[in-house]
Point group: C2
DNA sequence: GTATATGCAAAGGGTTTGCACGGTT
DNA sequence: AACCGTGCAAACCCTTTGCATATAC
């Protein structure tokens, strides 16, 4: 096992195209990327690729389990390769910084949601919002990033 | 104490307008509402009110602490009156249903994020995604609501 | 009377879609 | 050769903004 990306696509009835390879490679290289950022990365190699192709390709790659996305805030989602360690995004609503934490820290919480609310949680899909260490206590600040 | 909504606005230097009153009342009545839904509710009383006024008004009401918003998924955020019990939204990515759980169930998780990651969590700001009881195990379903 | 709020219309991000062409199988 | 995938342009949803008018103070 440990199927390759192209096997994975074929298994699900999809074709192998340069665009799909390039988008997947871009996601792996960036580690975190919005569709727009992924487009830019892809265009370093193939300038003709279109944004709508990136969107359609990300959907396909997500379908076959090669990438996932998470929502950080109001803006575009960010995409990750699935072989990356599962992580949670911690977004500071004051300074806008985004930190990562291993998804395992939520294990107890996830277990509780399952037992108390019969809910199977995908904890990494939506970011956790709040305030980071350096902003906490420093009141009356600007909010550079909104959200 | 226990200031009224109009006192609250005045304290922060805002003016009292019918629109602000109507938007606040609509949010309280709906308990969960997107800007668009709030507009419709407001227009039952005052048909001339504009969507951009609803957006600007919600921003003001949030500023002075009378309402908050939470992100459920890709679509528009939902607004709540702040006197409602703080709650978390549990969104099923399969059937799209949204359940509520008291924010208190996350207390231990929030405490852990504070101690381990120096992060002060606003747990109710972003919904938790996953799969609900009835959808779990039932594979190959449609995804009526997306996201 | 003056500053703030509103309505309207236009513009802005992010995403999806229809269609004809081109590439993979 | 048949069908799927792509590029392009237009359309879409949600939200913000500029400006003239109206309104709360």
């Amino acid at each position: 096992m440990n199927t390759t990306w192209d096997q994975r696509l074929r298994e699900h009835g999809f074709r192998i195209t340069p665009q799909r390879q390039l988008v997947l490679e871009a996601v792996e290289r960036l580690r975190h990327g919005t569709p727009e950022e992924i487009l830019v990365e892809v265009q370093r190699t193939a300038s003709g690729v279109n944004l709508s192709t990136v969107y359609r390709t990300l959907e396909v790659l997500e379908d076959v389990g090669l990438v996932t996305h998470a929502h950080i805030g109001h803006g575009a989602p960010t995409y990750h390769a699935v072989d990356d360690e599962q992580h949670i995004h911690l977004v500071c609503d004051t300074c806008g910084k985004v930190a990562s934490a291993p998804a395992t820290i939520a294990e107890a919480f996830v277990a509780q949601l399952r037992s108390d609310h019969a809910f199977i949680t995908d904890i990494s899909h939506m970011a956790i919002h709040g305030e980071c260490e350096s902003c906490f206590g420093a009141l009356g600040e600007e909010r550079p990033q909104g959200e």
